[in-house]
Amino acid sequence: MRIGKKANLILSAGMMLLSAIGMIPVLLVIMVSFSSERSIARDGYRFFLDGSLPVSV
């Protein structure tokens, strides 16, 4: 089943966005697995600290 170029572009962008959203929890799990409980207690669960750095180990 073929769709037009414009529709394909919009759908592809939507699917990539959905992929990115769906991967956020997996990314969080990977990131937390490299963090210590102490750093999580201090900084909380966050993707970027205030200085725009990943969670410290």
Partner: protein, 250 residues
């Protein structure tokens, strides 16, 4: 002893709420667990780029391989009152933090999102692989006949997916009174404040087993769950065969 174990289940004052929760969640999961994967599979099959298809398939399938323990951990990472990402965001925009583990009203939405995120990808792959096996000439002839995209979905794709939809729906109907224990016990962290919307038969039976160490209760509950599931499956299968004798799984 006789029917004492069954009396414990049926006469329990909380049982109405628990059965309602179980049935409501399963019906929503059944509906969304069919519609969302089919929609995703159809959209995926339309895309031109194989790379985009591969990336989406991989990211959709990955959650299927995570255990509920891991899922419960990151749900906590998102929803924790003191350290959670959602509350950090709420605070950053000047809103008050929400104690999600004390808010029963929020959990139906959270549990449905988590369940869909974890299971829709796997089901989508099943539908997608079925769509890939369809002869391209069918689509081409529909285009030649002047079918619009919606007409092609309605009159070509959905009828082709019919047998697969029937099989998966019938299999799910067999588990209509069973719930994923990991989703309702681990993900909710067994929080007592949200039991009104999160307690299902499996969670109730597990707690009864832990509190009272009576294996008869869990055996009776399993018997009821499986018995009703089997009856529903047979009835649905019978109904489908009445409509179309070539379909059905039994």
């Amino acid at each position: 002893m006789g029917i004492e174990n069954f009396r414990f289940l049926f006469l329990n004052p909380q049982m109405g709420r628990i059965v309602r929760n179980t049935l409501s969640y399963n019906l929503i999961f059944l509906l969304l667990g069919t519609v969302v994967p089919i929609a995703l599979a159809i959209v995926l099959s339309m895309l031109h780029s194989k790379k985009v298809q591969s990336v989406f398939q991989m990211s959709a399938l990955l959650p299927h391989f995570l255990s509920w323990i891991v899922v419960s951990y990151f749900v906590f990472a998102f929803l924790s009152t003191e350290r959670g990402i959602v509350n950090a965001f709420l605070l950053s925009v000047g809103l008050d933090p929400v104690n999600f583990y004390q808010q029963p009203g929020a959990w139906p939405v959270i549990l449905i999102i988590v369940q869909l995120w974890k299971t829709a990808g796997y089901t989508m792959i099943l539908y997608y692989s079925y769509l890939l096996s369809v002869d391209q000439e069918l689509y081409d002839s529909a285009v030649v006949d002047g079918a619009s995209l919606w007409q092609m979905i309605r009159y070509v794709i959905l009828p082709l997916l019919g047998p697969m939809i029937i099989v998966l729906t019938l299999l799910n109907l067999g588990h209509i009174l069973s719930t994923d224990f990991g989703l309702f016990y681990q993900v909710t962290r067994n929080s007592g404040s949200i039991l009104a919307t999160t307690e299902t038969i499996d969670v109730f039976v597990y707690k009864a087993l832990i509190d009272q160490s009576n294996f008869g209760y869990s055996a009776a509950a399993s018997l009821i769950q499986n018995g009703i599931g089997a009856i529903l499956l047979i009835l649905a299968n019978y109904g489908i065969k009445k409509i179309d004798p070539d379909r059905g799984i039994i």
